[in-house]
């Protein structure tokens, strides 16, 4: 292979990745909010009571299935959120905060905090997860537009 052919081939790969970025990262605001709602419901239900936690977990699992179904239909691809690359720090920060929020929710349940405090924690979880979803999408788009390897 000649060097000029190598350059043309690399440009072709970058073009394909840019088209992929255009196709996959046009994520509507409601989709980020839906992801945030998953964590919000989970954290709030854990904080409220054991029964609420069971109901909340079932609701969250159902919503996860619906979101997955929607994403596969709309985008025709599946992307693992914990994939290697620029998105991994965002995903790990999300998991770290998730652990802290769940611990806080359990503490609130054990110590009979008011319902408003518990719902407030759920709202914080919602806001954090929505923000994380936006950041993950940005990191993914940046990676795809940055070119291969």
């Amino acid at each position: 292979m000649q060097p000029e052919e190598a350059r043309t081939t690399l440009a072709g790969v970058s073009g394909v990745e840019a088209r992929l970025a255009e196709k996959l990262t046009k994520c509507p605001p409601w989709r980020h909010a839906a992801f945030g709602m998953l964590l919000g419901i989970l954290v709030a239900s854990i904080a409220i009571s054991g029964t609420a936690q069971i109901i909340g977990t079932v609701v969250v699992l159902t919503l996860v299935g619906l979101l997955l179904w929607h994403d596969l239909r709309r985008y025709g691809v599946f992307v693992n959120g914990y994939r290697r690359g620029a998105t991994l720090p965002v995903a790990l920060a999300y998991v770290g905060t998730l652990v802290v929020l769940i611990a806080a929710a359990m503490y609130m349940r054990e110590n009979d905090f008011s319902i408003w405090s518990k719902l407030g924690l759920g709202a914080i979880a919602f806001a954090w997860a929505t923000f994380t979803s936006v950041q993950w999408n940005r990191a993914y788009r940046k990676e795809l537009r940055g070119g291969s390897l």
Partner: protein, 102 residues
């Protein structure tokens, strides 16, 4: 040159398919066709070649009453893609150095 050009990935369309699959966990046939801009028959041919080389795993799933083909990059495929891209970058860099030296 430390990396070698992979003959399986030499065709630009095949390399582009691998590039897309390297960025997602799995992709549907229609998406690969749309992003790479090749025809159904060309895409089928390239996917078969990549699958035979063990670089791509193909699976079928029903959606809206129709069978859809999904493709994902295997570990061997990801490794080959990375090595091939490194070889291309080395070639391109060598050419730039030669131009700069002139």
């Amino acid at each position: 040159m430390s990396s070698a050009i992979d003959p399986v990935l030499h065709a630009p369309a095949r390399l582009q398919i691998a590039a897309v699959l390297g960025r997602v966990t799995k992709a549907e046939f229609a998406v690969l066709k749309d992003v790479t801009g090749v025809s159904d028959s060309v895409l089928s041919k390239h996917l078969s070649a990549l699958s035979e080389a063990g670089y791509v795993k193909l699976s079928k799933a029903a959606r809206d009453g129709r069978q859809r083909t999904w493709a994902s990059l295997t570990r061997a495929g990801a490794k080959a893609f990375k090595a091939h891209m490194a070889a291309l970058h080395e070639l391109a860099a060598a050419a730039e150095q030669a131009i700069a030296a002139e």
